[in-house]
Symmetry: C2
């Protein structure tokens, strides 16, 4: 049976149910740990499911912050230092990653609380997550305040990338499935993935073909 919700049905759901429902609607979500440090070097780590690709040239990524949540430490550290890391969540660390969403006081680092290890590499000032397989170091570029619901879009430029050689295709594609990266639904659901196919660049009068063998990632 198909359910039909109108705006009024959505508004009349209780807060928790509406949050779970609406959070499921955008499709599968990226799962990343964002690592930061304040000016004194105190580290912070928080899981985000809103990181998205913004552009390849310059190489930009965006994510959404809710300033009244546990994410406020991530925000203040990024604005203070200008640096942060984005680290893919995989099946070995998803429980620890989820646990970083608990409301710890500023004096407790989520790294210590969750047994994930900070890793400082090649002069980058923000901590990477040692247990993550794909790690990205970014410099803060822009903050866009979204007045509609008091959220903030943070945009950063990719400065460093660490990834397994065996996951990279000869066309530049990175097979994050092979690297064990998970996908998410809503606020609490974790999923492995299975490749269906990679398809050729679409043109109006040309049939699509599979490019998996051609690019071998």
């Amino acid at each position: 049976m198909e359910l039909f919700f109108e705006k009024n049905n959505i508004i009349s759901l209780n807060d928790r149910k509406r949050k779970a429902f609406i959070n499921s609607l955008s499709g599968f979500k990226s799962l990343n740990l964002i690592g930061t440090a304040d000016a004194n070097g105190s580290t912070n780590l928080a899981i985000f499911n809103s990181v998205f690709h913004l552009g390849a040239n310059p190489a930009l990524m965006g994510f959404i912050i809710r300033p009244d949540s546990v994410e406020r430490h991530t925000l203040s550290n990024i604005l203070e230092t200008g640096s942060y890391t984005i680290n893919h969540v995989n099946s070995h660390i998803y429980k620890s990653a989820h646990q970083t969403s608990a409301r710890y006081p500023k004096t407790i680092s989520e790294f210590e609380a969750t047994n994930l290890n900070p890793e400082f590499k090649n002069g980058f000032s923000a901590p990477f997550v040692k247990e993550s397989v794909i790690k990205i170091g970014l410099e803060f570029r822009q903050r866009l305040d979204i007045a509609l619901n008091n959220t903030i879009l943070i945009i950063g430029e990719i400065i460093q990338v660490y990834c397994p050689a065996e996951c990279m295709g000869n066309d530049g594609f990175l097979n994050i499935e092979k690297a064990g990266t998970l996908a998410g639904i809503g606020l609490d659901s974790y999923h492995t993935t299975t490749l269906v196919d990679r398809l050729s660049y679409a043109k109006p009068d040309k049939p699509l073909t599979s490019v998996v063998t051609e690019y071998q990632a």
Copy 2:
């Protein structure tokens, strides 16, 4: 072996390789078809992998548009009519969905070109995708221009939702995996998913538990 890329290594990749690489880095992506019509009723359909959850109250979703791409018809239709639909891509339609990214002239509807069927429901002016299992009708709320790379963030409010009753948990969670929704990597890779677990709300001094059985979606 771990590969290490610095900003200069990324810049020196050729355009196609950099695009494939950087597009893989944000993690798994949502896969949605955005349906629109212009003021004369001519329909348009385009695949987007940047739709994200922005907030539950009001219920907002965002996505990124590149105005110099095939996405320009989607943009002009949304600005003209104020309405659009977001339709999950599933394993039965991913090839047709991918094909909508071909550069068709404005006179050809991607619905016709790809054998996907427009569906008009409950007075909503933009076309839904009949073959999609989860369909969302939105009203345009805000446009944010991102000067860093000439992209545009389009924000809309959810006005209608269609989804299968058997996919909805008693907590409001929608099991989009059960509905057949796919996840994406980069620009051309399509994936099914398998649930690992749903975890309880995280608190500092409480162990996480599985909530799959409790919420039964």
